[in-house]
Symmetry: C2
């Protein structure tokens, strides 16, 4: 069962930092119906790694990455809105990325893929909704990486969205986040199996990818949550792994199982490209942020995040809200007290759902 | 120039989790003079990686790891106190550890070294000051790992210290810290050059060690400090390194230079042993903490740390102070507002020095 559709991007598709793609495509899923006025669309960008499958549907009832948030009478109410979720350009769940075939060579792009920027992910989403005949979104929305993408969207395509929801995002990656992401990339590129990006799909750099994902997972959560959830529980016997310095605590088993799942699902080069695009994102590349938002012709914005986020700090989110407000956009800033850290938007659906629904209902 | 002295540990030296060491020794340095009553000694334990060289002295004027804190009229006033700093058992700066020669084989212990516990580090310090004719310390003190060691010291040797200073420590490693340290260890053990611990000193697992140290460094600081210090400054041209996904930001260059320094100084197996001992530390192994401290016959305690510490959270430090207080020890808890994170005790010497000096002066 597969609910994905595919949008063909303009050929050539120009990349923000140079180069271009040919015959590129974006995989997306939709929920709800586009109304006759074509003005009820919500475009949803994802974090670093999810596919377009945000929620189950008759065509693919398996749970999505934001199951419980997208559907009839949920926060993204599909009785009212036509929701489109895109798999990011550069990813590997149907959209064109480093693991895709380069039409010029008939082989995977690998490191021959041009530099990827958050701006390219935004443009690919913009072109996707254009193929659906949508010229102005009701709302452009995204968490994490997606929270950067929506800002790039506003900067690149003035007037293309009436409202904006930036969830646990930032206007420019902070050095702490850059440090943590660059160590993850180095875990992958240091794995001999990475082979300068030329690994085969049978022998991916799984050791490096596992380490990268473990570190990623730590940065997505919070110390307070793990204290409650794991404490000092020992690892279950069957989960011990790792030779002479084997895992001993439940939290280590949890990280290992998430990491293994990730390695089998995500391409290493795609991870490297998307991860670096996040480090490089800086809204000031488009000019003074207040000017950027003034030109964007947004009516309303919601900037929402959590105080325990170590990767996209609440201060950075506060700054985004400040720019929007100074640009005359009616803005709600919602700093939430959730203890789950960066990933709270995936976990505390009650709190996030309430804020997002109340925002979407407000006009 | 070398100011180190060596204490020979009792032979055999029994290890907390089983096994024993033969002909083991501890390297230490001292500052100030032991008075006639032999009651003015301060025993200082270190964090994970420093040597016994806490401060310069006539015998070794090079700056120590706590330069500016130990000396005449400084916080640890050597006009008044006889300060002894030990290199931890299990480390590689003169004390016996996995890189030392096993007298039974004439070869390095490597993974043949018995399990190391925080309790063993405490006992080795206790035996060191015994060789100096000191039966009761004025104060036992330590930061980070050392902040765990002082608690083990109190538990194992009731009456052996009159006062205790626990700096950015904890009574039991939290799952968040365990996660972060275990990823560091896995970076090392995943490096093919580690070779199951049997690397030669010419070909250490430097890639894994560099990654481990970079991650360690991130966890020792805070996002707020790095925002001020590095922002989004690009890396200096000469510092770029790392091939296709080369470092681009100043913060990455900073991590790399610290990491390289560490690889050339610290033995990988020693790092693995000490790091794991921190995960395993749990004061409740000695019984109810309040009972433990009641039996310890401490007169006074200072528990000091910072609110931005992600590795040893201020809540954990608050808990330590609570146990001490409940045990009837006159306790000062000092949660500081420093923005430097866990390593603040190495950086903000003014704030830490003032608190520690005022505590040491208080009786």
């Amino acid at each position: 069962m597969d609910a994905r559709r595919y949008a063909h991007l303009p050929d050539p598709f120009p990349m923000w930092r140079g180069g271009s793609l040919h015959r590129a495509r974006i995989s997306y899923e939709t929920w709800g119906r586009l109304n006759a006025a074509r003005d009820n669309a919500v475009l949803l960008f994802t974090g670093l790694s999810p596919p377009a499958h945000a929620a189950g549907s008759p065509e693919d009832p398996s749970p999505g990455w934001w199951e419980g948030m997208v559907g009839p009478n949920l926060a993204l109410d599909t009785e009212r809105f036509f929701v489109v979720c895109v798999n990011s350009l550069g990813s590997c769940f149907g959209s064109t990325g480093p693991a895709s075939e380069d039409p010029a060579t008939g082989k995977p792009y690998r490191l021959g893929f041009p530099d990827l920027s958050v701006e390219d992910i935004a443009r690919a989403g913009f072109e996707t909704v254009r193929t659906l005949g949508i010229s102005r979104l009701d709302t452009v929305m995204g968490p994490s990486l997606g929270g950067m993408v929506v800002l790039a969207y506003a900067a690149l395509f003035p007037g293309a969205a009436r409202r904006l929801v930036c969830i646990s995002g930032t206007a420019a990656a902070a050095p702490f986040a850059i440090a943590l992401r660059s160590i993850q990339r180095e875990c992958i590129t240091s794995d001999p199996a990475w082979a300068g990006g030329n690994y085969s799909s049978d022998t991916p750099p799984s050791t490096g990818q596992r380490l990268a994902r473990k570190l990623g997972t730590v940065t997505y959560r919070s110390a307070a949550e793990w204290q409650l959830r794991f404490g000092r529980q020992p690892i279950r016997e069957g989960m011990r792994h790792g030779g002479p310095f084997a895992a001993e605590f439940a939290v280590q088993g949890y990280l290992e199982s998430l990491a293994q799942r990730f390695v089998s699902a995500f391409d290493a080069n795609c991870y490297l490209y998307i991860s670096r695009s996040m480090d490089r994102f800086d809204l000031t590349a488009h000019g003074d942020p207040v000017e950027v938002f003034r030109k964007a012709s947004l009516e309303q914005a919601l900037v929402i995040g959590v105080q325990t986020d170590m990767l996209f700090s609440i201060n950075e989110q506060h700054a985004v809200a400040g720019f929007l407000e100074a640009a005359g956009v009616k803005t709600r800033f919602a700093p939430l007290a959730c203890i789950e850290g960066h990933d709270a938007f995936l976990v505390d659906l009650d709190t996030f759902g309430r804020e997002i629904r109340s925002f979407l209902d407000s006009s």
